[in-house]
Amino acid sequence: MNQAENVLEMRAVSKLYGSRPVLDRLDLAISTGGIVGLLGKNGAGKTTLLRCALGLAKPQHGTVTILGEPAWNLSASAKELIGYVPQTPQLYHWMRVQHIIDYTGSFYRRWNAQLARDLVADWKIPPDQRAGTLSVGEAQKLAIVLALAHEPDFLLLDEPVASLDPAARREFLKVVLEIAAGGSRSVLFSTHITSDLERVANHVAILQNGQISFFGELGELKDQIKRLRLISTNTFPERFELPGILRQRIEGNQALVTTRTITPELLDKIETSWHATVEIQDLNLEEIFLELHDDE
């Protein structure tokens, strides 16, 4: 596979459930070597996006290409390179952990049994226990091991850390970083936990209203979206009419404005128009997410 190609390309993808559009002419392109976090509200369609990407669901319009192949009928060799962890682990509860691992491994040509063993030992999953008796966290970890052990080029995870305690989450993130360290592997994971995303992801995709409202480097997002605290000697108008404003709160001669793109021209304009001093506040990802979704 050409290194420069995108591992995932979704063009004008629309997916409707009944008459309700979950994905609406969505465009997304993920290139090799990135760790991309998919962020969105509950019910925004993150799981649907992942399922369309894997060929588990078929969009009504648009094309989905994963690892260079159309997603709907992936070939066996493409599936060898993909690892997927769905949201709820459905493990064969009557089988032992080690048997489940071996059973899954028997399908793959490139299966790193040693890696599986190491992960199981590190994460303290008892290999001889039956999967039905594992706790939710252990089951989730096992599902992750099953997806990692064949060293996929593209790893897709749907809320992988939802049921893990903070220590387990950190370990998992470390493993993800190690996997993506070489630069030839890509990871796409959807999550609600913005703090994890901030740590490991270098790209963020925000899914809003069925479209990707932002896709880019996390650092860029944080650089661009800022909250401004304005203090003036005069009273401010009822509303600011400035480009790129996400949210504003005005009280007399003080105002809090969240803006999408911060430029020196904007700051100049504010200062000259209203004789205001501007204090720039940095927003972390959680706050950015809340500001972006404020009008809903």
Partner: protein, 134 residues
């Protein structure tokens, strides 16, 4: 030889991680805790220790290189570059323009705290004295 760097980043702050690293390296250089010729730890090392994405670290490093704070030595990594002479780094006016936003922020804070410009100058003189002492 890599200097004893103890980076600390807060991934959950509003400041991007790469910018935090940038600022920390710059502060270390300015305060004299590292001198020219010292090597920064490798990207991989920093990423492993801080448990962050290595691409973030390498972005910080390449920005440092672009600004001339560090230079890349083949086979050995990033080395702190010698501090440029004043004439090499742009005219006085340009350099003042670069500092202007920070000065404005200081002025705004001072205004809030009811400090006059003379009182602020006292502070500035004191900080410069500490720097020159190093």
């Amino acid at each position: 030889m890599a200097a004893d760097f103890l980076f600390q980043v807060f991934p959950n702050s509003g400041l991007p991680i790469y910018r935090q690293l940038l600022d920390q390296v710059r502060r270390h250089v300015v305060s004299g805790r590292v001198s020219e010729g010292d090597f920064l730890p490798s990207v991989r090392q920093v990423a492993l220790e801080l448990e962050v994405n290595p691409m973030t670290v390498s972005k910080a490093y390449s920005l440092l290189e672009r600004d001339g704070v560090v230079e890349h030595v083949r086979g050995q990594g990033m080395r702190i570059a010698p501090r440029p002479k004043p004439s090499e780094n742009g005219s006085l006016r340009e350099r003042q323009e670069r500092l202007l936003p920070l000065v404005e922020q200081v002025a705004a804070e001072a205004y809030q705290l009811h400090l006059s410009s003379a009182q602020v100058k006292v502070l500035i003189d004191r900080v410069f004295k500490e720097l020159d002492g190093k």
